[in-house]
């Protein structure tokens, strides 16, 4: 037992136990269960009959066009929302960075989208994008940008666009705050030196601020990409995956298999596959953020 100045190993383990148990019970064990489920098939024949199917569920996935469609939808959703999030998030962070009276109120306003439940606000967005009475159509018409009302949730492309807008609205604060923390880490003196060097505001932004912000931006983008990949709430409530599966994401597809088609094995295969892809995505973006392989300091 190693003794350190402030405690023994055994004490440390004891402190870690409750958290470890919680995580084991809720995360570790279920993950194993899901993976094992994906190798089984449960048939309801009077009662549940389980049979071992090995990797056939994954084989089924490979040729499942609905799965590929869901994957495509998820990719579009993830890419577009992450990109928009990042751009808007940086812009908002720049606005929040200045010291002024009422900054607290502005920050509170910015936080609101993040704090409100996605599922509940999804209804709000469905109403905003309502084809007959929605305010989105009204505003666009008043601005002269559209001639006829758009059936947002009734058309595949526009439904996806509407969903992306809703998602970006909700998650931009998250990016903004992480980038803001990065901004606050840039010493004021460096910008003063740039002023004395004769760089105007735009040059300072482009050549000094943004390059120094790249680590924070990448960290935020990485988180956002992985979260967007697994998005469920917004899809289920706002579009239900429609119209005609045009906005169905992989999470929703898995859910349908679980609770509508009662195909637990297949649903588990989808869920597992989704997680593997999400982990891959995370790994890629993190590699981009830290090409020299140094350990992260996202604090």
């Amino acid at each position: 037992m190693r003794e350190t100045a402030t405690g023994t190993t055994r004490e440390r383990v004891a402190f870690l136990l409750p958290a470890a148990l919680l995580l084991a019970a809720v995360v570790a064990v279920p993950i194993l269960r899901v993976v094992s489920l994906s190798f089984e098939r449960v048939e309801l024949d009077g009662r549940a009959v389980t049979s071992w199917t090995g990797l056939s569920a994954y084989g089924r996935l490979w040729v499942d066009s609905r799965w590929w469609a869901a994957l495509r939808n998820t990719a579009v959703f993830t890419g577009a929302s992450t990109l928009l999030d990042t751009v808007l998030g940086v812009a908002i962070a720049l606005v929040l960075h200045r010291r002024f009276r009422g900054r607290g109120a502005l920050r509170a306003a910015v936080l609101i989208p993040w704090a409100l439940p996605t599922s509940v606000m999804a209804l709000a967005w469905a109403w905003i994008f309502n084809d007959s009475f929605g305010v989105a159509n009204d505003l666009l018409a008043r601005l002269g940008l559209i001639g006829r009302p758009v059936a947002w949730l009734g058309e595949p492309r526009t439904a996806m666009a509407a969903m992306i807008v809703a998602e970006v609205w909700k998650t931009t604060p998250f990016v903004a705050l992480i980038v803001l923390a990065g901004l606050q880490g840039i010493p004021e003196e460096i910008l003063e030196a740039a002023r004395v060097d004769g760089l105007g505001a735009s040059a300072r932004l482009r050549k000094i601020v943004l390059p120094l912000l790249v680590p924070s931006i990448l960290v935020a983008a990485a988180f956002r990409a992985v979260q967007a990949y697994g998005a469920f709430d917004i899809v289920y409530v706002m579009t239900g995956g429609g119209p005609g599966g045009a906005t169905e994401t992989v999470s929703l597809y898995a859910f349908q298999n679980y609770f509508r088609y009662l195909d637990f094995g297949y649903g588990s295969a989808i869920a597992t596959q989704t997680t593997i892809f999400a982990a891959l995505l995370a790994w890629i973006v993190i590699r981009l953020a830290r090409p020299d392989g140094k350990e992260g300091e996202a604090r």
């Binding site: 995360v27 607290g104 704090a115």
Partner: protein, 273 residues
């Protein structure tokens, strides 16, 4: 940025952030005729509370809110409690190991939640806990744990090491040190962690939707989703908006009260959103 341009930008940011919720409030207060008017009527004229009343009759809103509160509060206590202990141990670990653990925690929260749904549902069914809001407590606590640990761990590390060593010399056990020294010194962060965990639990949807099928057991997120009614042509938008207002009002108040804490907690790498 020049003054005027900044003011415009700030105004745009505020408008963008608050407009959807504000629009829901406006809709909830409009009489039906104005809701379905074209072109859109923006301000309720005159405002009416009819939708709220009708909604309250149709759905047990109070029950929903109470369930949400029960589940979230209980989960917050468990998560913060376990988090306090774990973060204390983590803060004392050597740099590399600690970073690995924190990184691992980060990874955990990034998993698509759909992954864990089914086994948790199975377990809840087996233990007879379905349709009981408290069945959500353990899953919620576990999923919020990384967030709590992140915030608490960084707060602990702000405490100078010498203070912990002085406590050891004074003969305090690790638990006593936690309760007498670390907790009081890190109290603001504990509060922050509590707030963020609470919000995350309150907003959770997938597990609530799956676990709670009986109306009286539903949390507000699951309950609202069912306000729509069976037919897609019968969506009572007025009531729906009222439902959204009821569901979001407590959170809006929370945010304005605790905005500094929330912003501070989030910038420490919070992940769950």
């Amino acid at each position: 940025m020049k003054r005027a341009a900044f003011a415009v930008a700030a105004g745009a940011v505020v408008a963008w952030s608050l407009a959807p919720a504000a629009w829901q409030l406006a809709t909830a207060l409009k009489p039906d005729s104005e809701i379905t008017a074209a072109p859109t009527v923006y301000l309720p004229h005159p405002p009416t509370l009819r939708h709220f009343a009708a909604l309250a009759k149709r759905k047990p809103l109070g029950r929903y809110l109470l369930n949400s509160f029960e589940a979230s509060a209980a989960a917050t206590l468990v998560a913060v409690g376990a988090g306090l202990l774990a973060a204390s141990a983590l803060a004392r670990m050597s740099g590399r190991r600690r970073r690995r653990v924190l990184f691992g925690l980060l990874l955990l929260v990034s998993f698509p939640p759909i992954l864990l749904l089914f086994p948790l549902y199975e377990a809840a069914r087996a233990l007879g806990g379905v349709n009981h809001p408290l069945a959500l407590v353990i899953p919620y606590a576990a999923l919020a744990l990384p967030l709590a640990i992140w915030i608490l761990e960084s707060a602990y590390r702000q405490i100078p090491r010498e203070i912990g060593e002085a406590a050891v010399l004074d003969g305090l056990s690790p638990l006593q040190r936690l309760v007498r020294i670390e907790l009081p010194l890190a109290l603001p962060s504990v509060v922050t962690a509590g707030i963020l965990v609470f919000i995350a639990c309150w907003n959770e949807f997938l597990l609530a939707l799956t676990f709670l099928t009986r109306d009286e057991s539903k949390t507000i997120t699951a309950g609202i989703a069912s306000v729509g009614g069976s037919s897609i042509y019968e969506i009572p938008w007025g009531q729906l908006s009222a439902a959204v207002v009821v569901a979001t009002a407590p959170l809006i108040v929370l945010v304005f009260l605790f905005e500094r804490r929330i912003a501070g907690g989030l910038t420490r790498g919070a992940v769950k959103g």
